[in-house]
Symmetry: C2
Subunit: 275 residues, 2 copies
Amino acid sequence: MNIEHRKSSSIGVFDSGVGGLTVLKEIRRVMPHEDLIYLGDTARLPYGTKSPQSIARYACQAAARLREEDIKLLVIACNTASAVALEALQGQLAPLPVIGVVEPGATAAVAARPGAEHLVLATEATVRLGAYSAAITRRDEKASVRELACELLVSLAEEGWVDGSIATDILQRYLAQLAPHERAPDCVILGCTHFPLLRDAIAAVFDEGTAIVDSASTTAEVVRAMLERLKLGNEQHRTGAVRLLATDGASRFARVGGHFLGESLAASNIELVDL
Amino acid sequence: MNIEHRKSSSIGVFDSGVGGLTVLKEIRRVMPHEDLIYLGDTARLPYGTKSPQSIARYACQAAARLREEDIKLLVIACNTASAVALEALQGQLAPLPVIGVVEPGATAAVAARPGAEHLVLATEATVRLGAYSAAITRRDEKASVRELACELLVSLAEEGWVDGSIATDILQRYLAQLAPHERAPDCVILGCTHFPLLRDAIAAVFDEGTAIVDSASTTAEVVRAMLERLKLGNEQHRTGAVRLLATDGASRFARVGGHFLGESLAASNIELVDL
């Protein structure tokens, strides 16, 4: 593969479902000239309640499928898959660069509030692995990190019920599991790509001035910097194309995914693939 | 296989996850002398948001796995799989009897309120297929049926948040999607095996006197009658054994499944299998 060919290749983006479209949206905003190909493993979502072994197997199959599309870089736009399988995927795809969302999310949190108390809202599997705690304390030894599994927020975001009292009540009930001093963190990390949809509802249950951080924009910046360093950026005077692949349910993908991408999608634009 | 051998074989029970344990519990109550083997396809749950093609493929793989255990009858303890794949599974396993939960649920609803207005609460896939509407109107041409997808109730039951204002508010928000006259049905059918856990919360949002019907007990009665007719019932002066199989996450299966079975489970009692 020559270098020109690789410059014009697509950036691959993988998620368990539609949540990663929040990351795709940021990548497109930062690099509108790049072609993007997104794969949502909707046949096997959610990953957040599955075992590490299954998650790693699913992620490797998805990555293999995207490699067939001759991508130049892979983004794991799923916190759970990033927490479980980033190293395995880097090994599998080398020398292709693979970027997860946990490390950029940790970078963003530490930049927003150095030496702070962080609260990570995430899925059960992400919390169990403690990937955010490790990534944050590696960057900032004065930081403290508490992770909280908030599984219901995933379904809530998928249902599109992103504001109102139901979202607030669910959040308050999860927060009630914390010790009182843990309920007023300096920084809240949206450790699941579904949660940016609930940003306003989440911000409302914390003190004013609490930083609310998600990994989408930081991940897009990391991708841009990586492509620049590897001299793999595409021509800038063009508009990139976006392809959307899913392993199941094109009509649901289009309907729910539209919320996440912030624009309406047609089922006919979703390509179904088998893994 | 001789008849004695088949009498002592187990009853197989299949579900996408732990919800079908509500059906297993009823079968055990009605036939405590029978051996039961349960398979929860936790690696691929939930089925409720997946396409009919995927659901049918998963159900056939699970049924094939249970047939290896030399079962004498298979119960599809998942409304979505029953709605999508009952006929396919009956074809695949013939002459082994296969019983779904939709038909017994419809029988129970029609018996509870003849000629009535029924409201079915179910998953997206079950509603899309209209299996309850077909099964009820086939039994009672004067009945009318409205089906309502309530996806969030599945996560709510799995989280164990089965009472309190969050459950009520979520139900009210779903009911607000109905026309005013549809919000006061004569009979509410719990068309997902997760929903019996929410029975009290569901009953509370409807008029007093509304029948609340689930298919678990009727399904157990249909199984008992079928075994009797086929002379396949086991000896009654014994206590049956229960084996629990899952395709992923033994510890989560034990923790969440305990709510559904109504007794505590240990992860070490769950056998992990690959489909």
